[in-house]
């Protein structure tokens, strides 16, 4: 990944040093000469696959993926980050599972938003949702030192149709267990 990034950057440098910074002038060969061999598009970089679930050894107790599938995501109202009364039961159920079976794992709370906005505010909204869930879990007895949070804004939708059902599915906090 790093070397690919590096070569991409160097290539970008060569390409752009040759063309965009200055208005191209007659016989300005020195600044463009190096771009000849570097104009090919770089290959698409294979994305890293983090082995979060596959290959986990399940020695008696439940595997991470089994446990994760039991945790239900918490959903939120439009532009809101408080946990609704309907969702409070879900949080309690999640907290019970976390305390009973997942206490040895770290918990990552992933905040998400619907597609209305790609700005920082949307990321912050996702984070405040994760923070609300964290506070609720801690209130139910979960260990706060084992909980981390992240927000993906609108960039991690589970549903991409342009419907209100779909948007409501994306306004959520997901649970990820880490060894």
């Amino acid at each position: 990944m790093k070397s690919i990034l590096l070569s991409s950057v160097v290539t970008a440098l060569l390409v752009f040093s040759g063309c965009s910074d200055k208005s191209p002038k007659v016989d300005d060969t020195s600044s463009v000469s190096s771009s000849a061999t570097t104009t090919q598009e770089v290959e698409a970089v294979k994305t890293e696959t983090v082995a979060s679930d596959s290959g986990m050894i399940s020695s008696g107790s439940e595997s991470i993926s089994d446990l994760e599938s039991k945790l239900t995501s918490i959903y939120f109202a439009f532009d809101k980050f408080n946990i609704s009364s309907q969702m409070k039961n879900n949080v309690s159920a999640d907290a019970a599972i976390i305390k009973a079976n997942a206490s040895s794992y770290s918990l990552k709370l992933e905040g998400n938003c619907d597609e209305w906005g790609s700005d920082e505010y949307n990321f912050a909204l996702g984070l405040k949702r994760a923070d609300a869930v964290k506070k609720a879990l801690v209130a139910e007895g979960a260990d706060s030192s084992k909980i981390t949070m992240v927000s993906y804004g609108e960039s991690n939708p589970t549903c991409t149709a342009k419907t209100r059902d779909c948007w409501s599915k994306n306004r959520r906090v997901d649970f990820k267990l880490l060894p």
Binding site: F16, V42, Y121
Partner: protein, 416 residues
């Protein structure tokens, strides 16, 4: 009576330079310009592509009423094409390949049968033709004595979401005709140029345990991690000298704005409200504007870096979740509908901190991520409309918007 005239005169003067007042320049009142093509090399498809790019650039400089007819003529012909006889200006150009295989262009501007300007261009690969096209339009604008369109030559860096939690960072020209993927793989967002020379940039990487701000030096190709924060880590703005950053971080799950000193690596917390404070933008060395939900909905506020006092800047709009500032001007994004269950419209608005005027800059769709040009005369923004993502340019003094669509993916954020 005299006093009244003096008052009117003063009022007219004070409004003359206010960008919140719409300047409606009728297209008909602009001088006409026809473009004639005399190319000898390359196939017809490419020739037409170049012509289209050049016409787009000439439109964006907004000083001519550009005739879009594609007409051919010999470069050295004495007379202009007969259909162009009545045009105020005729721009004749030729693109050709020389013996070394370089891409060449030459142009001349003709006014009343007289050649008033000419210029030559040369670049190694024809794939970079759009930069020649931009340079030609830039030079014509300079020749006409209009305010500089320096931003035309600046590079745009943007993040394109290609799948959930997958994005790529792309460097492009302002029309997105040329695109170079500079970082791919993983989830990387919020790219921000680190200096005026545009040879370094910051971005947020989600590849590690925590969101991390990284800095790429394009010259050396080196990437280094600058600072991490649990929850959120975004570089919202870079000071003019590149030495100070406004970051949004959330070390304890609380999104706030921090000032980061690039040299000393010291950071200080700028906002302390318990809700959401994000999107810090420098007005000058001492003042910032930012977005906060301290009134229960997102809105634009300002504050002195050294003081705790916060001032509300915008009194219109139900949800104003993004902003950019240049001197006394602020452009912000406002939600125009309050419907949580159907399509929403988000428009950009311009206000001046010195007057009460509001000018709406966009009309339809989701318009967001406004970014002032360095000179404050243009605003770049992202438009998402009917599943199409575009980058738009607003020419404030010309009251015109231009859109350049993205072929695939969705623009998440950008800087120029």
């Amino acid at each position: 009576m005299k006093a009244l005239f003096t008052l009117l005169f003063i009022i007219s003067l004070s409004f003359a330079n206010d960008a919140t007042i719409e300047v409606i320049k009728k297209v008909e009142s602009l001088p006409s310009l026809a473009v004639e093509e005399s190319s000898t090399s390359y196939d017809d498809t490419f020739k037409l592509k170049f012509f289209k790019s050049f016409i787009a650039d000439l439109n964006v400089i907004s000083i001519f009423n550009v005739d879009r007819h594609y007409r051919k003529i010999d470069y050295d012909a004495n007379d202009v094409v007969v259909e162009n006889k009545d045009m105020k200006y005729v721009l004749r150009y030729q693109v050709f390949e020389d013996d070394s295989g370089y891409f060449n262009a030459r142009m001349k501007l003709i006014k009343e049968s007289q050649e008033v300007m000419n210029k030559n261009y040369r670049i190694k690969k024809k794939d970079f033709y759009m930069f020649i096209s931009h340079a030609m339009a830039y030079d014509i604008n300079e020749f006409m004595g209009e305010p500089s369109v320096e931003w035309m030559k600046r590079k745009v860096i943007f993040s394109r979401v290609v799948a959930p939690k997958k994005s790529e960072l792309v460097i492009a020209d302002y029309t997105l005709s040329y695109q170079f993927v500079v970082v791919s793989g993983g989830f990387n967002v919020f790219p921000k140029w680190a200096n005026k020379a545009q040879n370094k940039f910051y971005y947020t990487s989600f590849d590690g345990d925590k969101p991390t701000l990284k800095k790429v030096d394009i010259k050396t190709g080196k990437t280094k991690s600058i600072i991490s924060s649990d929850g959120m880590m975004i570089c919202s703005d870079v000071s003019d000298d590149g030495n100070k950053l406004l970051l949004t971080m959330a070390p304890k799950g609380q999104p706030d704005i921090y000032l980061y000193d690039v040299k000393s690596k010291k950071r200080s917390r700028v906002t302390k409200y318990g809700g959401i404070d994000v999107n810090g933008q420098f007005i000058d060395d001492k003042n910032i504007v930012f977005i906060s939900n301290r009134l229960g909905y997102p809105n634009v506020f300002s504050k002195e870096l050294a003081s705790n006092d916060v001032e509300q800047m915008v009194y219109y709009g139900k949800s104003n979740a993004a902003c950019t500032a240049h001197n006394e001007y602020i452009v912000y994004k406002a939600r125009e509908s309050s419907n949580a269950f159907s399509k929403n419209t988000f428009n950009l608005h311009l206000i001046s901190t010195k007057t009460d005027f509001i000018r709406r800059l966009t009309a339809s769709g989701v318009n967001e991520f406004p970014r002032f040009s360095k000179d404050g005369n243009a605003i770049l923004f992202i438009k998402n409309y009917k599943a199409q993502s575009s980058i738009g340019i607003i020419r404030l003094n010309h009251n015109k918007n231009y859109l350049f669509p993205l072929k695939y993916g969705k623009v998440q954020s950008m800087d120029w």
